[in-house]
Symmetry: C2
Subunit: 436 residues, 2 copies
Amino acid sequence: MAEPLRIALAGLGTVGAGVIRLVEANAALIARRAGRPIQIVAISARDRSKRRSVDITPYTWEDDMVILGERPDVDVVVELVGGSDGSALACARTTIEAGKALVTANKAMIAHHGLELASKAEVAKVPLKFEAAVAGGIPVIKGLREGAAANEFERVYGILNGTCNYILSTMEDTGRDFADVLAEAQAKGYAEADPAFDIEGTDAAHKLSILAAIAFGTAVDFRSVETTGITRILAADIAQARTLGYVIRLIGMSETDTNGDGVERLFQRVQPHLVPFDHPLAHVDGATNAVVAEGNFSGRLLFQGAGAGDGPTASAVVADLIDIARGEAGPAFSVPVEELVKMEAAHTGHRRSRSYVRFLVADRPGVLAEITAAMRDAGVSIESLIQTGRADSGGEVLVSLVTHEGPESAVSEALRLLEGSASLTQPPLVMHLLGS
Amino acid sequence: MAEPLRIALAGLGTVGAGVIRLVEANAALIARRAGRPIQIVAISARDRSKRRSVDITPYTWEDDMVILGERPDVDVVVELVGGSDGSALACARTTIEAGKALVTANKAMIAHHGLELASKAEVAKVPLKFEAAVAGGIPVIKGLREGAAANEFERVYGILNGTCNYILSTMEDTGRDFADVLAEAQAKGYAEADPAFDIEGTDAAHKLSILAAIAFGTAVDFRSVETTGITRILAADIAQARTLGYVIRLIGMSETDTNGDGVERLFQRVQPHLVPFDHPLAHVDGATNAVVAEGNFSGRLLFQGAGAGDGPTASAVVADLIDIARGEAGPAFSVPVEELVKMEAAHTGHRRSRSYVRFLVADRPGVLAEITAAMRDAGVSIESLIQTGRADSGGEVLVSLVTHEGPESAVSEALRLLEGSASLTQPPLVMHLLGS
């Protein structure tokens, strides 16, 4: 059998421990499939003395993770530290500059610095791989970059954050409100102590920007992802959506858009959507992730699985290692960095969507007339409208409506007309409806 | 840009025409992603003068498809003729022996001769690829062979035949019977004039045997797939299943099984199953295919999409070509042929399953007692039983029951006890329940 592929691990949290467990448990099978063994030679983490779920004594300890790639006995560094900058980025840069391959699960780093790292990897002629950075154990980077590589993509979208999906589907199952379910998720370890990255949509936006770059051949543009989280969704929204035939899911959506003027622009949005019952994403529950890629020849492809967790993430990391062991290479974002198009962000006002708009209003005469007049004046056509009292809200009333398909700018205009209205007890919530 | 990858097409049916359309329509994008253009240089089919949906005049015509691979201007032959033997196999052999890569969508050929062809390809050091042979446009071969390569697979199963799934989901939606829906599917072109390969499960068995080989590292063993088609399913079965919380889907199921005696054996079965509403496969409707792979680290992965059609199949064919253009190689079945284990077929009697058993019986006293006594005598524990009259059957009565989990041999024994009973108007139908 050929020489082993020698790897170093930077970061020994749950995913790092998962990679050690996987490489040990499935060693023989990995060697058979990769054509050679994968061997962990060195490890590094912030705190050497921390209690860990795996025995790290067989591996050489290195205090400074940044220099792992400079060890002559290391072929690949696996960066599992996390964080867009800091020691993760330093480790990634040093590794590639030392002419070693880099595998990472770090979506924030790839969303912010993926282009720089991919350029460096091209110069150094080493692989840069990050399957685990998007949708955990689901091989969706490979699916887009290779499996569906023959297609022009029409849309790529999906459920990219397991914490949000767990919270939304639990709210749906139990009728409980957001804050309550979040607290439980934190207690169970399904949500971080500081959940902002997840529940405000940032994590999904990181992943979406990576998928979009691969799918559309564009430069990663995390900053232009229009991002709305799930923090304002009420149990009542979920109940209303269900009445209308929808579930609510946090969807990351990307497509290119010629915007009427023929100039191709990149549309990227993370937002809670109403997903019709008959759409495959409506059945994605709990911490599961799923990505849909619509290709001009493949039609709709769906990739679904566990979006996080040590086992699934380790599965994706080691898949990258097996690819490297087999000699698979090629540009990280499918095409060389210099061929990635720097595409302007799409304008969204002209987009034709169906929208769900929910108001919390004071329970007094004339409120409905005020809302419907604003909609009429802005040219928004209302398909359905429901007004319900809120048992728990001391006289507050919930008004939710669904519009016919029309320009999103019209809905924005209607809400502008209602700005400052004394009837509204908080700003309205807008969610779009996902087309079938 | 590097030299083009020059391909020859053998077979110009709907898929062949699809490949031509795709290579022409997405040429620039393919060249960018593959690092070099993919160029069709020669074509061949049975009848040169046949009217086709694409213009074939730009390509050199070769009367004899078997010698396409011997042309010095061809790097890869794409075999789209179909059929396990005959000119498809002759073309495949000659191509590989001439030292050229082979891409094929031919599941029957790979199921029957895949090992021989893969051995030849290893000797000749050329790629053999067949993504399009399983589940149409879904990159599931890649998903197992690469994306989930770090995992030991616990089970691999799925909906592998679009015609059957179309028929079953149409029966479900309309309440109509099998023969009626089949006739309509044939009229619409969703089912072949001779539908036997599809509806008797052979096509799904071809695909399952290929997936199992890759997943479990075993020699392809199509002949030992236990295969039951969908021809005996009644509208009444679908209605009963629904009452119990299930839909009926033709599932190809594979796993390894140590059978109590520690010897690892390969279990492969194509059979209609009752799939619980909360399983992702229960929502796979129409001609869609879906494959579930359960890995020991990845957990459950689902790959879903169009299982047939010229566009999706061409998408898979060209994905293989892009891999070849990029220099991706490696064993066709993930590991070299000599490392594939020739695993004995699993015994099934000891398998613990929940079974749905449906009887058509004469409407007279004592029949239920006869059935339940046989179940009792064979040690089968009945969880639920429904008896319903059949409006259309002249006094025939339908009795369907679901067993508790128990050895499949017990159900077989109960049916053996009932063999020859004058009460049964036709042999009972057994379907297993898919676990969640």
